[in-house]
């Protein structure tokens, strides 16, 4: 019963998501919304604004520097999460070993 309900919910969610994908604008080519004036701004002004030859580095570290800070924090959180999940288990096992030896 519960399993059937979960499956039905997943099927409904799948249908909704696929229908949304079909609504998305597809064959717009050069008229698609991602080709706007921001691209031209970066290409024309990156060297003046930042002094960096590599426009990707200019966007990554200067125009979108705050976003990159978030990315590094995500890396930090990943290390903290893995360490917090795995380290206490090792300590617990060590304590059990010590108790057995006693």
């Amino acid at each position: 019963m519960k399993k059937g309900l979960t499956t039905a919910l997943f099927v409904i969610l799948f249908i909704i998501l696929v229908s949304q994908i079909l609504i998305m604008p597809g064959d717009l080519g050069i008229n698609s919304p991602s080709y706007n004036e921001v691209t031209y701004y970066y290409i024309q002004r990156a060297i003046q604004d930042t002094g960096a030859n590599n426009i990707i580095a200019a966007i990554l570290a200067d125009y979108r520097g705050f976003d990159t800070l978030g990315e590094t924090i995500v890396l930090f959180i990943s290390t903290v999460a893995v360490a917090s999940i795995l380290k206490p288990v090792a300590k617990y096992e060590d304590e059990k070993k010590v108790n057995k030896h006693e």
């Binding site: 060297i47 604004d49 930042t50 002094g51 960096a52 030859n53 590599n54 990707i56 580095a57 200019a58 990554l60 570290a61 200067d62 520097g65 705050f66 990159t68 800070l69 590094t72 924090i73 890396l75 930090f76 990943s78 290390t79 893995v82 360490a83 795995l86 380290k87 288990v89 090792a90 096992e93």
Partner: protein, 145 residues
């Protein structure tokens, strides 16, 4: 791993891989690359060292203390540079308007604070990769004991 060929080849390759990683980090604003790819190179070279010479020698090269320092140091460097921009220009992470020297585009010393940010990102990525690997491998060994 007790293979003479693998050990000697690793001894030769690891320094070159690390120097190449440092090169990519420092030239992030001039040529393709940057903090993420250079840091990944350094991290994977240390993973290769740990795989070949064992977890004990690998931990000697990059101890928990060093990983703690590098983990927080990378973000700390990034945030400090951002705050310097905030003090001198009013907005977080502002570059040339905060008085960082622009230099000539194409030279190593140019682009204001971007090389410093790349160094911070590189330290962070390298230490994250190697720390995750060390944590996972350690647990694996302790379970098998």
């Amino acid at each position: 791993m007790n293979d003479v060929i693998v050990k000697s080849i690793t001894r030769i390759i690891v320094p070159f891989a690390e120097i190449y990683g440092i090169f990519i980090i420092l030239h992030g604003h001039v040529s393709p690359g940057g903090g993420f790819s250079g840091g990944a190179l350094i991290g994977t070279s240390l993973i290769l060292y740990t795989l070949v010479f064992g977890i004990k020698k690998g931990e000697e090269k990059f101890s928990h203390r060093a990983s703690e320092f590098a983990e927080s140091g990378g973000i700390f460097l990034y945030v400090v540079i951002g705050l310097v921009g905030m003090i001198f220009a009013g907005t977080f992470l502002s570059n040339l308007s905060a008085g960082f020297p622009a230099g000539t585009p194409g030279k190593l010393l140019s682009a204001g604070m971007i090389p410093l940010l790349m160094i911070g990102i590189g330290i962070k990525v390298a230490s994250t990769i190697i720390t995750l690997f060390h944590i996972l491998v350690e647990e694996e060994e302790e379970v098998h004991e």
